[in-house]
Amino acid sequence: MTIDLSRRGFLALAGTGVATTTLGAMGFGAAEAAEAAHVRPFKLVATTETRNICTYCSVACGIIMYSKGDLAAGETAELLHIEGDADHPTNRGTLCPKGAALKDYVRAETRLTRPRYRAPGADRFQDIGWDEALDKIARALKDDRDANLIEKNDKGTTVNRWTTTGYLAASATTNETAWLTYKTVRAMGIVGFDNQARV
């Protein structure tokens, strides 16, 4: 489950509870009910919480993401805040200077939002649709593979080796992305295949 109800419930109670107790202690007993009624709840109470893992180094700190909107309910979700997950055994709620600013990466002004194409000799990108971009890639793969795949070596052994196309995979993607990438890249016969493990 993506939502930790008990934690949200705790925050909701704490938001009003702290105010009530403090006012009571200060001798405003009569004002308690009125005060509690108009104290604004903690902002994060209205958000959806999701468990995730920091995307930077391999300490892999647990994080909680707070979003406006709930993806599980079919809504769009806007990321508002990220904090360390106090229940996580490794980081126990702490984050480093990179992890603490993680939201800035998700919402960076230089995030890519649409496919772009750069023509030979051009000095800028132009927009391109997904369909056109994907067709262009598939055609380029097919043409280069048909032209340059080495099916058999000079001894007649089937080698299905393709060296004129290469692929660098991403060490911040999931195992599942990695597996699908592995399947497709290997099925094509690509041997110039690596990830950041070598640098």
Binding site: T2, L79, N91, L168, G189
Partner: protein
Amino acid sequence: MTNSWTDIKNTDLVVIMGGNAAEAHPCGFKWVTEAKAKRGAKLIVVDPRFTRSASVADYYAPIRPGTDIAWLMGVIRWCIENDKVQWDYVKNYTNATYLVNEDFGWEDGLFTGYDPETRNYDQSSWEYQIGEDGFVRTDPTLQDPHCVWNLLKAHVDVYTPEFVENVCGTPKDRYLKICEMIGETSAPDKVMTSMYALGWTQHSKGSQNIRGMAMLQLLLGNIGLAGGGMNALRGHSNIQGLTDVGLMSNLIPGYLAIPRESETDYATYMSTRGNKPLFPNQMSYLQNYGKFMVSFMKAMWGDKATAENGWGYDWLPKLDIAQYDALRMFDMMANGQVNLYFCQGFNPLLAFPNRAKMTEAFGKLKLLVVMDPLETETAAFWENHGIYNDVDPAQIQTEVLELPTTCFAEDDGATVNSGRWLQWHWKGATPPGEAKTDTWIMANVFQRLRKLYAEEGGKAPEPILNLAWDYADPEEPTAEELARELNGRAIGPVHDPADPAKVLVEPGKQLSGFGQLRDDGSTMAGCWIYTGCWTEDGNMMARRDNSDPGDMGTFQNWSFSWPANRRVLYNRASCDLSGKPWDPTRKLIEWDGQKWAGFDVPDIAVTAKPGEVGPFIMTPEGTGRFFSRRLMRDGPFPSHMEPFESPVENPLNPAMRGNPVARMFEGDLAQLGDRSEFPFVATSYRLTEHFHYWTKHNRVNAVLQPEFFVEISEELAAERGIAKGDRVRVWSKRGQVWAKALVTRRIRPLICDGKPVHVVGIPIHWGFKGAARKGFGSNTLGPFVGDANIETPEFKAYLVNIERAEGEVMA
């Protein structure tokens, strides 16, 4: 890591050498602090710079970049000389007593069999003596001059404290103090841990640096114990996972091998992978290789992979050379031999050495496809950014497609931490604009390519047309579907080998462990070491029980740890010969008379009686190796080699440059600099405020560390007339950068071979995209040469020159 982040709390002594965990892995370093506070553990830091890790160390010593092997071999020598050896462990759990071929030897810094023409070794003498019974010959008395122990003693003899001081620049008194601290952990109830990172890997002999420490840890009896081990602090959040799943030129998931073309069929491929035990009763677990391999082939090609066609063996690519690693591919690209290249979440223009060569290489592609959440310098390699990217777009004919992808916040799946925990995460944000998941992009590219082959025919279409694609939506396989494939399931009934009438797993059911894999085609699994991560009981990677019953930091019900949910590798070695923990207060497992049990999954058959089966079950020996036989290209022991660009000669052999078997492409040899022209040692490093080339896109991190700088000592600054904050030019044989000078006392000149050696520290984090100021990285200057075994570039030790530069050039 053999152990885990949370296990570090169990240690008595932490050695951080070849890394800087306090800055690069701050929340993991917290466990060092925990060990210091709760156990009174000590921290030793050895680094060319007085880093933030050093600032909280109990003892610090400087070292010249690229001399770690001499330093470590010297510690081994000191421990042997002073009898700081865990003898029961060494005699029984390592190959110390084994006899080696009498032809094996070492002189002038080289092992027997070296051929300078081919820059390669004939390794035939690097092997054990095998008796008539087919098992290895040993001398338990350690008297035979050819036993591994005596060869090791002879090998390390040259590395005296004086030799180490002269080569490494580490003052002798500091060195001896550290030797004493390390030596104390040879006691059976004292444990040391090694934490290292790119400071050890990014050398032309990086693998041998790590071997050196692994050997020391065997000598001290610290492998397999809580608070011990060899702990690689990996960089990216899933670099462990991508390596596990085999996304490298020469790998199949689970550390199996892509075939060589000399292995003409499946039977030939398997003929050298029998992994026959070298002692009676040894487990030699990789005898099961065929089961893992066939299950992988079934995961790739499903029903089309049959016993008759060698499980689709012909469809796998076959290598004609050891590997088409990234350095080789970029060299081929620079020579016009690559047409099409994909960069998925990877920014090689800033990550690989000799940037001018990288720019030239990309300019020779027909099409570059970049898939990334962020703008990258690689996707814009053709853009002119003044001195920061001095190119003419009109002269570059490469087409570029830049595709927007999701990031961690926008997808589901597992990443594997440094301690091998597969931790599931959930998406919580809508992707920006038209950004898509990498799986959607890969599936769509593949579906279109498959359609072209189906409609048009073409070369070797079978591996593409036959690829298993059993997903509800062929254009968007889900993380759950893919994770279940990685785990594996029964295709046919899986029978009990002891009772063939009995069915262990019914067809269609998820497997619960790799012991259920078969080589008869009745099982499939994408990555055998992950089997157990998604069973019939559900997603084990999503488990979130953070209780820790033994208080040993093993957290057995938190996520899933490969292999088999084991948290400390080789944990059988944490117990003595009778099966009792070396240190009862640090118990992971023990033999209870009937079986192994405790707070971790035993790394041995649970009913294997103590004394019958050696603790290192993955090796045919059952022991850890001081002498690594023919497994490393540059020798069975680590031997001191200078960096390819070095301020001094190699005292073992003044004619030897760098690693004598490291691969050097022709044009790159001419681009090596000489100490007369480039007198200073450069080393790259990372800052705690930045992650590679990503966080320069974040306003907060860009404010914290806005501008590229290089770090030099007060002495070098004085010698070159450079003041704090001055603009400087730094150049190597391959390029030049401009930076702000950070003059500190964190870097001090070292005395090596009687002369002062100055070190220039160069952080890696700047480019010409993002929120930070435009700048450079260390890769502009670094040499295009990699480690002899795995081709990791030598970024940690090369030569530069530096001078004060006039004025600020604005981009």
